[in-house]
């Protein structure tokens, strides 16, 4: 049975990880039973921090940051599910019709608030992820210009070929009618299309989208943006406004 004095002698080497496995296990087993040994260990572990700081401090290359933080970029396998429609409820009750209507109205208001908050939180999370992709994407940024239908429109795509996520920012897009939005389409070399997501633009024609492709982005050859109907058909309502090649090779 190891004594406290013997453990105290071993603690400096234990803090450095220099003990043989058997001695290390003995110290490890003793520590939970002895506060003074734990305190001594904490003192010696502070030396490790000092030793870590003792080498010449060298600045890592600037390009390393994006690579090191790539792990924190969002990775999503599938497009986000469409938001469920707001459910309205009506209640049958013993109360008068007026009371029943008031209760129904209150319930609807609460549901709208909850949905609104959820949507706000979702948008906020999306925007955070968008900024992360823009900051750390390890690929070419692609600028796309609108065609004759939208000569002032410009878009910027921040891509990471190893990922299926990209950030899109657009300005000066034509505003659309109610019930319409813009769809991003990605096309593989054999012509197979994929939906990269849909987005709206504000009254100034500015919009953004966190594109989530079904496959890694380097599987695609080109990208286009078209106005579409928001209903389930998603049918195009006009020709693409943007088309650009994705040159990963």
């Amino acid at each position: 049975m190891i004594t406290e004095d013997e453990v105290q002698d071993l603690i400096p080497a234990f803090a450095l990880g220099a003990l043989e496995p058997e001695e290390s296990a003995q110290v490890q087993a003793h520590l939970p039973t002895c506060a003074s040994c734990r305190m001594a260990l904490a003192e010696y572990q502070r030396i490790n921090e000092a030793l870590a700081l003792s080498p010449v401090q060298l600045e890592p290359p600037g390009s390393l940051k994006a690579k090191a933080l790539k792990v924190s970029m969002p990775r999503v396998a599938a497009p986000l599910p469409k938001q469920a429609g707001v459910a309205t409820t009506a209640a049958r009750s013993r109360f008068s019709l007026l009371t029943a209507s008031a209760i129904a109205l209150a319930l609807v208001s609460l549901l709208l608030l909850a949905w609104g908050f959820r949507e706000f939180s979702r948008q906020l999370a999306e925007q955070r992820d968008l900024v992360a992709v823009m900051a750390y994407a390890d690929g070419p940024a692609v600028t796309v210009h609108g065609n004759a239908s939208a000569p002032l429109a410009v878009g910027k795509l921040y891509l990471d070929p190893d990922s299926n996520v990209a950030a899109l920012i657009t300005v000066n897009m034509p505003t659309l009618a109610n019930g319409q939005n813009y769809q991003v389409s990605l096309t593989e070399p054999d012509g197979t299309p994929a939906n990269g997501g849909n987005f709206h633009v504000d009254t100034n024609g500015n919009g953004w989208l966190l594109i989530r492709a079904p496959k890694r982005l380097d599987a695609y050859q080109s990208v286009s943006i078209s106005p579409v109907n928001e209903n389930s058909t998603g049918a195009p309502v006009g020709p693409p406004l943007f088309q650009a090649d994705l040159n990963f090779r």
Partner: protein
Amino acid sequence: MDQKTISDEELIALVARNESWALAELYDRYARLVFSLGVRVLNDRSGAEEIVQEVFAKVWLKAGDFETTRGKFSSWLIGIARHQCIDELRRRRVRPTTDGTDVASLRSGAESDPVESAVIAAEQQRIRNALAQIPVEQRQAIELAFFEGLSHQQIADRLDAPLGTVKTRLRLGMQKLRDLLKE
């Protein structure tokens, strides 16, 4: 919220909630330390770059494992970085420099780096002063244990010294460092 006033422990808690900006802030604070440790252990800049990537990937993935009750974030990070370096060293079976020759060739410009804060520079000077005050054979044993992950027996084999002598050198050297750094 001023990011610079957020503690490391608050940042790692945010990392555990998938806040990527918090990881970026921790990178800004500790990448240089991790990179420099990697260069010191591996004697190789590109290897040190890989270490930095692996360490911050681990920080991101294991942020939820960090507990403030078990110590500071910097201690946790240094533990991860050191183990990563030593694992890589063992994998390569490369003998690093212990006389500082190769590291010195990387030194040019580093000590005149304007980015290095006065606080870190002062702390580093304090540590180097302390290391300079312990006998060279004790320092050597400590550095072999810390930077190469060698055990008592492995240090004894490397230095061709008796095991008991190595144990004493390491214990006395660490005790002296503890006392010097307490001042």
